[in-house]
Amino acid sequence: AQTVTQSQPEMSVQEAETVTLSCTYDTSESNYYLFWYKQPPSRQMILVIRQEAYKQQNATENRFSVNFQKAAKSFSLKISDSQLGDTAMYFCALWDSSYKLIFGSGTRLLVRP
């Protein structure tokens, strides 16, 4: 069965600094996708970044980048130049041929002014 584990329930970072959120996963598939979603208090899940497992290059979206270690089944999110608007819950998620998006338990990120 697919699993996604986020071992950091809460993280805190000073505005303008860099923070890394951890995620490990397990799947028996060779072809799958990994995602980071942001959920602010408004509840809507917002896609932050997406990584295809067959791509070796780490995905980057402006201040957000990932460190994808396929052999270790690790998928961490790095947020550079943190902004107050980055304060939210962050969920790591796995999609494979089961057609389900499996989520981790989330990391609550607080950006301090």
């Binding site: 509840r43 809507q44 899940m45 896609l47 057609y99 389900k100 998006l101 989520f103 338990s105 989330g106």
Partner: protein, 113 residues
């Protein structure tokens, strides 16, 4: 519409009552998902539609839960004989094709009293 639309935004119902939650996916999206998110947790998969048919309903917790998508667009999640443990945010999501980026609505917050 521009995004995934869910109604109602909030619903308070008495224990034992019947509830319907509606999801209007992004136009043209063939895949539709329902998730349930309890407080402080990540979303849990309930059911996945490809077109009109439920391709995977393995996440529905029991036979009180049922979902339909009769015309391959709007979907309704139906909960019979509601229990207090059903209280959660019910998230709907859609994607153009299975495996593509999944877009979420803002959710329906159900409270059973």
């Amino acid at each position: 519409g521009a995004g995934v639309s869910q109604t109602p935004s909030n619903k308070v119902t008495e224990k034992g009552k019947y509830v319907e939650l509606r999801c209007d996916p992004i136009s043209g999206h063939t895949a539709l998902y329902w998730y349930r998110q309890s407080l402080g947790q990540g979303p849990e998969f309930l059911i996945y539609f490809q077109g009109t048919g439920a391709a995977d309903d393995s996440g529905l917790p029991n036979d009180r839960f049922f979902a339909v998508r009769p015309e391959g667009s709007v979907s309704t999640l139906k909960i019979q004989r509601t229990e207090r443990g059903d209280s959660a945010v019910y998230l709907c999501a859609s994607s153009l094709l299975s495996g593509n980026t999944i877009y979420f609505g803002e959710g329906s917050w159900l409270t059973v009293v």
